[in-house]
Structures are given as structure tokens and as C-alpha cells.
Symmetry: C2
Subunit: 329 residues, 2 copies
Amino acid sequence: MRIAIDAMGGDHAPHEIVAGVLQAAKEWTDAELILVGDSARIEALMSERPGNVRVHHAGDVITADDEPGKAVRRKKDASMVVAGRLVREGEADAMISGGNTGALMVTGLLIVGRMEGVERPALAPMLPTMDGTGVLALDLGANMDASPEELLQYAIMGSIYRSKVQGIAKPRVGLLNIGTEAMKGNTLTKTAYGLLEQAPIQFVGNVEASQVMRGGCDVLVCDGFSGNVMLKAMEGTADAVFSTLKTEFTRTWMTKLAAAVMMPGLRQFKKKLDYKEHGGAPMLGLSGLVLKCHGSSDALAVKNAVRQARVALQSGLVQAIAAEINTRK
Amino acid sequence: MRIAIDAMGGDHAPHEIVAGVLQAAKEWTDAELILVGDSARIEALMSERPGNVRVHHAGDVITADDEPGKAVRRKKDASMVVAGRLVREGEADAMISGGNTGALMVTGLLIVGRMEGVERPALAPMLPTMDGTGVLALDLGANMDASPEELLQYAIMGSIYRSKVQGIAKPRVGLLNIGTEAMKGNTLTKTAYGLLEQAPIQFVGNVEASQVMRGGCDVLVCDGFSGNVMLKAMEGTADAVFSTLKTEFTRTWMTKLAAAVMMPGLRQFKKKLDYKEHGGAPMLGLSGLVLKCHGSSDALAVKNAVRQARVALQSGLVQAIAAEINTRK
């Protein structure tokens, strides 16, 4: 299997990307890893050169500030776009990037290409849950105005991912809604509920936003608008609580002492709450495998993303999703 | 002015309701307060009888478990329904209830009646903000599938309420969205954005769910589905953080000591986060004034709700909203 890695995407590119890829190459010798980007800069960082690492030159870079659509269309020689082209042309089986999320979505759609029968591919990150297992949520903001049929596809794709790549035999799929009863919600969720009941998944019904962090489902399905509202409400509330804690802790010398005792546990918890810490997010519904790793990824995170891509390729993820989508046409 | 109070609605009815009304009657002698409910039980609680308090008998009660629509239609003699009828028939200028929220919405719609030109009245509670000022949010779950025109009406009604009842000269109105740029969002918010820009309000643009608690607007407009998702995500995250804090605090004797130092401040903060603590929520867009006070209201909360109703009546809130809605037909 051949995995293309955008060496120029992310806050610590290219050095952490190159370092992570070198580690991964040594651990999984069955994978051919293709570093895509400025070959001079990449070569300079390669302290060693395992036989299964290759450099593919790309002269341009999409930055965090680039407007996604425009950047992908114009910067034809950007590392992210070139990595996508390798997948499209069958020269790589998967691509990984920690670059501009919007641009990666566009690269997935326009360069790698949609899977036949899928209207809207979705980015599916893991949200943290209290028990530490996490929930795969899709969609969290890529696609506005989803249709019930699109929510059904999200459910099927998410369920197959959790089972194939993460080994959950019967992933529990929940529908984000404002109440647990079947008839709750807006026109979208009410219609989607009926479709999900009939689908070849373990549908566990509606899940309220207040219950998402308590676990209860392995896949959470929602339209991009309300999913993004949920995600940002969670982030905003956690931020608000932690910033208040900080103020409380610095009030007197007694509270400062208390802080010294409490902080290690709290820091760990805060990290647990940060969904960006939870591995790479697959972009599901494309004709090839695209994995987003977080912009702040260090070498270890990059290595983990390679592991994830490798498992997904070995499991036949994309083919399994295509087969299921195909039977439903 | 005459204010009908549902004496049987809420966790501490009727005793706390009666006690709060007696306090309010003494403070505001210009208001005639009508206690609606089981007259025998109410009379038994009236240690004193100010001249401006009256009891209006109603033999039935809508409970928290009642199905709202059914209950309002069938329990014609329920205290909440009777209070609504007093407003409809001009025997009271406003009503207050701490009972079943859904049933109160139905009472507002079916008994008190919609204001001419308003498609969907909305319940508008205050959400807590970090600076303690709060933001009036509508709608948070009463109406699913709002139209852009309905969001515009929410904006106008909320803005008039904040200015008339809460004395904010130019309330800043924000639109809940997934990004701050004008072109962000789904079809609903994109269309609503254009309408809000033209409206006679101080529109401050899109507000992300992560920024709501940081203040920045006095009125937050959203459809009931995403508003409810936001509210529950906030509640769920706050609950999750506090329950983890509790676990962290009981880990060792050192952390237990830390907890003793920190808890008073944290409890106060948790209370600040609880939107239920933030006074009565008006139901806007009805032909009369309806105020929801929280189910757990004690005498002081009931007294504060009477104060709020009194200010709203003195300010001519309902007439001001009707005039503005009327000019836009």
C-alpha cells in the first residue's frame, strides 16, 4: 500500500511530518510512504532514508489563510493538491494532510473525487466522551442544509468506519436531536429517523446534545449546521469554565495552593476534552481514502495517522462503503 | 394593571407562589394580583390579605407530566388555562406561570392567542454570559423549521423587549451561525442575514456558539432546533466538567482540602451558568403578556416575575411589538 503525506501542511511542517513518517516507515515496512512537498526542504530533514520512503516534489503550499476553493483551483502544484492527484491517479492509495481543513475538503471533492452515489462526503472527527472512548461525529460543518438521505449516508459510512477501522462489531448510531422521542425534531430529523430505522445499522435513536459527552453512541449523525453549533457550544462552555477556574484559583494564597494540587488532574481532563487530540479524521464518501490530521500534529500524531490510514486500507474501508452505497441505489 | 398568576404551577406551588404574590402586592400597590387556582388551598395560605390581591378559583391543574397539547385542550378548568382565559377576555393584562413549559406555550397560542401578523410566537429566556449580563435568546426549542421571516420577527420582538423592559437603548442583535462572515451558514441563516441587515435593529452580525457566553450581543436569534442543540450542548459540557471536578476533588486528602477552599467560588459560578436562575422568560408574539417563571421558583422568584410583568405592562411592550409588526405587513 502507498500512502501520500502532505509534508507541508500543519503548524510543524515539514519537520514533524518528516520525523513522523520516518518513524512510521520503520514500524510498518509493508507501507510505501510518499512525502509530498518541497523536495529540497524535505531531503534536508531526512537524517536517514528507509527504503519504503519516497519524496515527491510539489513546489507550492496552501496556507491556513488561503481561501479553500480558490486555493485548490489555482495552486495546482500545492503539496496537498499534488497528494490528492496521486490518489486520484492511482499512484497512492490514501493521503494524509494536517493542512487547511477547508482546502482539504475541496481537494477531496475536486481532486480525489466523490464516490459514485454519494452526494456529500463528510469529514468525521472524533468528539471526546467522558468515558474516553469518543464518538465519531458527522457532519460537523462541511455541508450545510443536509437532506434526510444524506444523513442516512453519513450513518452508513460512519458505522462502516467504526466497525472496519476501529473494530466495533455493532457500532451504535445516534441521531442528534432536541429530544429522545421518535417524533421530536425538525422536518429533517423526523424524516431521517424513519430512514435510519430501516438502515443496515444499529440505530439507537435520537441523542440530545447534552448526552453526547456521556457516550451512548459510537456514531453521531447530524447536519453540518447544527453539528457545528453543538461543537462550538461545547468548546465555548469548556473554555468559559476553565477560564473561570483560573480566576478562582488565583484569588488568594489559599486558592493558589489548591490550584497547585488540582492543576495536573485538570490539565489532563482539559486535554481529554479537546477533540483535536483524538487522532485523524477520515473524510468519508470519496473514491479514495483521505485523512485529516490536526494542524498542531507532532511526529507521534503523524505516525498515528499513518497507522490509521494503514488499518483503513487493510480493512478495505472505501470498497466496503462503496459496496453498501451501491446496493442502495 | 391586573396580573393573573397561576398559583398551582411549579415545584413549590401553591405556597411559594402565594407567598411571592403577597410580597409583590405590598411592594407594588398599583398592581392588582389575581391568584388563579384551588381557592380553598390558596385561601388557607393567605396569612394576610392585601387589598390588591384576589383569588380566582380554578378546579384543575396541568402537571409536569401532562402532554401539553392534550392537557390544554382537555383541562379547560386548569389554573394555567383559566389564567390564559383571563388575559384573552381582558380581565387580566398579563399572566405568569411556573408550570409545564410546553403547556404554557400551547396556552399562549390557543388561549391567549397570537398577535396579528406573527406566525410563530417564541419563548425567550436569558442565557448566562461570563460578564453576568446575559443574552436574550429566541427561539430555543419551541418552533422547529423557522423561516427567515420568522427569525426577523424574533429579532424585532427580542430587541423591543430588551429596550422596553430591560432599558438597553440599542440592543445588539446577533444571529447564531457557524462563522462570523456574512456568507457563512445554511440557506436559512444566509437569507435571514440579509433581512436582519435591513431591519430597524442594531444588527451585529453572525455569532458563533462558542462566543455566545462571551457576550457581544444582547439578543441572540436562532431557529428552535439549533438553539436547543446549543443550549443542551452548553448544559451537557458544564455538567461534564463539574462532575469531573467533583471526581478530581475527592481523589486524595490533599485534593479534598483543595476542594474545601475552592467549592464556594465554584458553586457560585455553577449557579451563574444555570440559565434557569435568570428570571422569567417572556413569550413574545402573543396578543397579551405571558411570562414563564422557572418551575423551581421560590417566593422571591415569583415576586421578581411580578416585577418583570409590571415593567413590561408599564412600558407598553405588547403594543410596541404590535405597532412594529404592523408597519411591516
